[in-house]
Structure formats: structure tokens, C-alpha cells
Symmetry: C2
Subunit: 334 residues, 2 copies
């Protein structure tokens, strides 16, 4: 077997870039054998321990506040754009960034291109479920306004990813709405309900609600990028809020604080399971290559997990499988 | 001062109706001096302790699964419709139901009518914030698809309610979107952003995100009824999920269970503060009368709180204040 291509990591993206991003890369390479190429400004990387990692020089940086598509057009020598080009040019197997989400998606879309037959790529974000496989939510923000057929494709892409990433045999696909009945929701959800019901390639279980995102009853939740992003941030915010409230309660009284040790011991694994850092990040599905989008606050551990996911998804040829799923039974396609 | 009109309570609505609904009504009347009239099937109420409460007979019941508007048209002698008519006819000051939300809103809308100048009523749901006033989210589900001008009115109605219900002097109004920048979101949110920015009668603080729903940074969050309902159910589901995970963790090991007593003592008040039962329920704003929509799972305590809120909102003439706010500076209106 030929040695694997490296994963191109945007060393400049993320709240803790480049130091903690690079630390994660070195750990992934040295401890987990993941091949990685760092993409970034050589001057910024010079003072850091980059181990044996190759560096692909890029002179510009897309900032968190930059407009995604515009930044990709104007900063052609940015680490994000160069990482996407490395995948396009067959020099890297996948790209990973914890930087500007919109710019990451735009880099991948504009440099790698869409898979044939795909109308719009979508962000598939895993929601960790303790004791079970994560639930994939898509679109989590790539397309604020969607046409019904796009959501039909999101269902096939998400379903394929749930098989590839989590080994779920026949993922249960739900449509995010405001009631179980098919007639509940907007004109968009009602039309998508019809499309998903008629698609023999997926296991559609009907409408699901916001509260089902954290349940084991559904594996893939389909929605437009506006609703998906609002739901995801509401969920993350609520879990974080509750965690901080519980931890303050545990230290609120001397009596509670005195006995909180054993409790923190059991709560820590729970926090770990719910931590977005352990999920390995979101995937941009529908582009002609693997693109993993990490949380902006990614720590070295989050980067290790994101690199692992990127490597695995490239090794198991997920983009090709997604393309095949989207075009199955279609007379269009490439 | 003339004796207050009673609040009309749908005794048949809610998962625990009629027994626990009636128990809440009796408690509200006897312990808190809230005048209440029970609306429901005399046969179903006969075996219950209804104290000194007057009963307004209604022979039909709108079930949880019924379609809201259709049920109001076909079940003209239902407890919900009769409760709304009691308000319309000046026999009750307000209506309260823990039953079918859509049918409650439809009853109020079709029997009381809209306030002059109001395009669409909205459901304003309070989200409890420990240590602060609740955040009002509207629309939480009355209108799945909205026009920009409706959301402009929701902002004025929500702001007026936040003043009346929580005594907030100048409520901070945010627009739910997927980024702080005005250009983030859908064509709907972008247009509403412009409307709210130009409205001198409200304190618009810009876009807010899902994670801000539980923060003190915003008092009133404006969105369409689809997004609002998804966000609300996601938030409730996430808090409930986290609470159940924490409580299982507290009993997961013998060591944890042995010391969990003092922790449960400090966690209980937190659970209490976050419990939707303590908020008194959602208000349908924009109709010509007070309509409080309780949680389907309402306990007697939730009913007591809902009756208190309904009574207070009627006493302080909230519908008239909302109507005035919607029409302020307008050349239309009545």
C-alpha cells in the first residue's frame, strides 16, 4: 500500500492559532501516525515545535471576522485557500481548519468544486449523544436559504456520512420541524417531507423536533442552514449554560463544596462526552474532497480528533460515496 | 374598586386535565385570591373538589392532536372556545389553557379578534434566566411563515410585554440570526434588521444567536414562529437532557450517591429556577384580550402561576398597551 497523502491543516485558523493548532498536529503525527502538512506563514511557525512536519508556505491569513467568499477571492495566498488547493492538486488527502467557517466552506467549494450532481454542499455537524453514536445535523449553516431539492440531497449525503463515519447500517433520517404531523411546518418543510418520503435510498422517519436532537431516536437531522445554525447554537449554549450552573451550584455552599470531589469525578466523563472537542468537527459534504471544520475554540486535542476524522474520511473515500449516493437512481449526474 | 372579573380557565386542557388543572384553580383562588371561572364538562368536573369556583358549562373538548383552527370551527361548544367567548363578552378578564396550543391561539384569535393595527398575533414565551428577568421569545410558534412587517410588530409587542410583565424599563430587543453582522441570515432577517434599526420606539441591540437566549444581554428575542419553536424546543430539550444526565451521574457510583445529599440541596433551587412551570406560561400577544398558554404538562403549581400572570396582565390592561405600542407613530390603525 502506498503511503497516505498528508492532511493539509490550516495552521493559522482558530482562536488559539498557530501554537495550539500546531501542537495538535505534532501530537496527531507522532502519537497517532496521521500524516499532516502544516499550511501557514513560515515566520509565525518558526518559533514553534513543528516536529518533522512539512510546511506549505502561505503568506496571508483569513481572519475570523472576514467575509467568507470575499476573503477567498482576495486572499489567494492564504493558508485556507492553499490548503484547499493542496487537496484539489492531489498533494493532500483532506483539509482541516478551525478558522472562519464561512471561509473554510468557501475555500473548499471554490477550489475543490462541487461533486457532480450536488446542488449545494452542506455542513454536517455531529451532536454528541452519551452512550450512542452522534446525531448528524445538516445543514448547520452553509446555506441560510434553501430550496426543497437541496434538502433532499442533504438527506442522502448525511445518511452516507452516518454510515461511513459511525458505521450505522441504515441511519434514521428526520426532518426538523415544529410537530410530528407532515402538515406541520413551513412550505419548505412540507415539500421536503414529500421528497424524503418518496426516496427509497434513505430511512426517513418523519418530522422531528428540537428536543429530538439529543435523542437516540434519530441519526441524521435535515434542515436549512439558518434553522440548523440557530438550533445548534441554542443546543450548545444550553448545555454550556447548564454545565456552568451545575458547577457553580457545586461550589455554592461549604457543605456542597466539601463533598463535591466524588461528584466532579462522575460529572467529568459526562462533560467529556458532551464536549464538541471530542467529536472531531463538522464535515462539509458535497464538495470534491474531504473538508473538516473544527470549532473556533479548538484545543490541541480537538485538532488531533479533527485530523483523525479527516484522515479516515479520505481513506474510506467518503466524497466518492457521497457523490454516488446523491446520483443514485438519477438520470442526471455527471 | 369593583371586584375583578374572573379568569376563565380551560379545565379540560392539559395532559393532567381536569383533576390537576382544577386543583391549581382552587389553590389560586383560595390561597392567592385570584378569581377563577372553570370552563368544562360538568360531568367531568363533578367528582372533583372545585371549591367555591363557578363553572361555565361546555360540552366539548378539543384534544391535543386536533388541528387548531379546524377544531375551533367544528367544536363550538368546547371549553377553549367558551373560555375565549367569556373574555370577548366581558364575563372574564382573561383566558388560560394548558391544552392544544394551536387551538388556544385560534380560539383567542377567532373569538376575541386581533387588536386594531396588528397584522398577526404571536406567542411570547418566557425563558427563565436564573438571577435575572426571563427573556421573552416571540414568535414561539403561532406563525410558521412570517412577513418582515409582522416581526417589526412582534418587537413592539414583546417590548411592551417585557415592560408590563417584568418591569424592565427599556427592554433590549434582539433579532435571532446566525451571526452578529446585519448581513448574516436570510432575506427575512436582513429586512427585519432594517425595520428594527429604524424603529425609535424600541431598544434594538442587533442580531443575537441561539446561545444568547439564556443570557442577560437581551430581554426580547424576535424571530419567525418556525425558528422560534425549533429554538425553544431545542433549549428545553437540552436543559432537560443535561439535568437528567447530571442526576444520573449523581447516583452512578456508590461514592457519588453517598455524598449527593448536599448537592441535591443546591441543585434543586436551580432546577426550580429553570422549570418552565414557574414562569407562568406564554402569552398570545396581539389579540384583544389576555390569553395565557400553559405547558401541556402543567401541574397545579404551573396553573397557579399561569392564573396569576393572566390576572395581573388583565389588571394592568396589557392588551390596550400592546395595541397602543403597535400603532404608535402610525397613520393607520384604528
Amino acid at each position: 500500500m502506498a503511503p497516505s497523502l498528508p492532511v493539509a491543516l490550516d495552521a493559522m485558523g482558530g482562536d488559539k492559532a498557530p501554537a495550539e493548532i500546531v501542537a495538535g498536529a505534532v501530537e496527531a503525527a507522532e502519537l497517532h501516525g496521521i500524516p499532516v502538512v502544516l499550511v501557514g506563514r513560515p515566520d509565525d511557525l518558526a518559533g514553534l515545535n513543528t516536529g518533522d512536519l512539512e510546511i506549505l508556505a502561505a503568506s496571508e491569513v483569513i481572519e475570523m471576522g472576514d467575509d467568507g467568499a470575499r476573503a477567498v477571492r482576495t486572499k489567494k495566498d492564504s493558508s485556507l485557500v492553499r490548503a484547499a488547493e493542496a487537496v484539489r492538486d492531489g498533494k493532500a488527502s483532506a483539509m482541516v481548519s478551525a478558522g472562519n467557517t464561512g471561509a473554510t466552506a468557501a475555500s473548499a467549494l471554490l477550489r475543490m468544486g462541487r461533486l457532480p450532481g450536488v446542488s449545494r454542499p452542506a455542513i454536517a455537524t455531529p451532536i454528541p449523544i452519551p452512550g450512542s453514536t452522534p446525531t448528524l445535523l445538516l445543514d448547520a449553516g452553509a446555506n441560510a436559504e434553501c430550496q426543497p431539492a437541496w434538502l433532499g440531497q442533504f438527506a442522502r449525503m448525511g445518511s452516507t456520512l452516518a454510515v461511513a463515519r459511525y458505521g450505522i447500517e441504515r441511519p434514521k433520517v428526520g426532518l426538523l420541524s415544529i410537530g410530528e404531523e407532515p402538515a406541520k411546518g413551513t412550505s419548505l418543510t412540507k415539500e421536503v417531507y414529500g421528497l424524503l418520503s418518496a426516496d427509497p435510498t434513505i430511512e426517513f422517519i418523519g418530522n422531528v423536533e428540537g428536543r429530538d436532537l439529543l435523542s437516540e431516536a434519530v441519526d441524521v437531522v435535515i434542515t436549512d442552514g439558518f434553522t440548523g445554525n440557530v438550533a445548534l447554537k441554542t443546543l450548545e449554549g444550553s448545555l454550556r449554560f447548564m454545565a456552568s450552573q451545575v458547577f457553580s451550584a457545586l461550589t455554592a455552599t461549604d457543605e456542597a463544596a466539601a463533598v463535591s470531589g466524588p461528584l466532579l469525578d462522575v460529572l467529568a466523563p459526562l462533560a467529556e462526552k458532551l464536549d464538541p472537542e471530542t467529536t472531531g468537527g463538522a464535515l462539509l459534504v458535497g464538495v470534491a474532497g474531504v473538508c473538516v471544520i473544527g470549532h473556533g475554540s479548538s484545543s490541541p486535542r480537538a485538532i488531533v480528533n479533527a485530523l483523525k476524522v479527516a484522515h479516515e474520511m479520505a481513506e474510506s473515500d467518503v466524497p466518492a460515496r457521497i457523490g454516488a449516493a446523491v446520483n443514485a437512481g438519477s438520470t442526471e449526474g455527471s
